[in-house]
């Protein structure tokens, strides 16, 4: 049996790589994929902790996270498509309309 701390460590590494992707990349689609990766990292940690404390509630939480992620991806991609339609370019550096 693999100890749960390995899974949590892997989840931390995966989450950090997601943060790195969000901070470094300029394409909003890639930033979105990195956010999905971070959600997955949190899911892995949830399942690992659920196994450790011998309960299925971690898996139930992951189920809800998956539903929210699906809704979020659909709405986010629709917003990106609308932005592309208005601007004909995709770069987060140009989307400064709401910047103070």
């Amino acid at each position: 049996m693999v100890p749960e701390s390995y899974y949590v460590a892997l989840s931390a590494v995966l989450f950090s790589m997601g943060v790195l992707g969000v901070l470094v990349r300029r394409n909003p689609l890639v930033i979105f994929m990195s956010i999905e990766m971070m959600l997955n990292a949190a899911n892995v940690a949830l399942v690992a902790f659920g196994q450790r404390y011998n309960t299925a509630e971690g898996q139930v939480l992951v189920f809800f996270v998956m539903c929210v992620a699906a809704a979020e991806v659909a709405v986010g991609l629709a917003i990106i498509v609308v932005i592309f339609r208005l601007r004909r370019r995709l770069s987060v550096d140009e989307l400064s309309l709401m910047r103070w």
Binding site: M1, V2, P3, S5, Y6, Y7, V8, A9, A12, V13, L14, F15, S16, M17, V19, L20, L23, V24, N27, L29, V30, M33, S34, E36, M37, N40, N43, V44, V47, A48, G50, Q51, R52, Y53, N54, T55, A56, Q59, V60, V62, F63, F64, M66, C67, V68, A69, A70, A71, E72, V73, A74, V75, L77, A78, I80, V81, F84, L90, S91, D93
Partner: protein, 164 residues
């Protein structure tokens, strides 16, 4: 045996995540994301969460990945990251930021609740336990989730509709 499976899956997960970050072409990134999500499904299998593994393959590696590939093909953003980067210096700051985050997580991992063996090495009952919890204790959040998905559908239709 289980440790071997974990190591292989962990290498796949981290490698595909690195590919997603480093590859310039977003369609390559999407394919790396599929590998990443499928390996996470494998991780769920090693954690004996079979329901989540199937849901992961269907929802993430199926629906969400297809949605991403579809959006990339509609938008064709191909060359947009090859231009000069006005904020290049600021972007390098991301590396120490993530390093500090990793350091903090390592400290938490070393100190906190994961020391020693767990309460009991008993299997929590797999898909049956999940379903029971989902339709008893978590019934209200479950229904709210269905409402959330409905709201997402309506919102996407409103956003994506061309103004006549």
């Amino acid at each position: 045996m289980q440790l071997g499976a974990f190591v292989i899956l962990a290498v796949l997960v981290v490698g595909s995540a690195a590919g997603l970050i480093l590859k310039r072409n977003p369609i390559h990134g999407a394919l790396f994301l599929v590998v990443n999500l499928a390996s996470v499904a494998g991780l769920y299998l090693t954690l004996r969460a079979e329901f989540l593994a199937t849901a992961q393959v269907i929802v993430y590696a199926g629906a969400i990945a297809v949605l991403f590939v579809f959006a990339i093909m509609v938008l064709i953003p191909g060359k947009d990251e090859t231009g000069p980067d006005p904020l290049r210096g600021q972007r390098w700051l991301a590396v120490p930021v993530v390093g500090v985050f990793l350091l903090l997580s390592a400290l938490i991992l070393r100190s906190a609740a994961l020391k020693g063996p767990g309460p009991a090495a008993h299997v929590p009952g797999g898909i049956e336990a999940v379903g029971r919890l989902l339709f008893t204790d978590y019934l209200f959040p479950f229904e709210v989730t269905s409402f959330l998905l409905l709201a997402a559908i309506v919102g996407v239709l409103t956003l994506a509709k061309r103004k006549a």
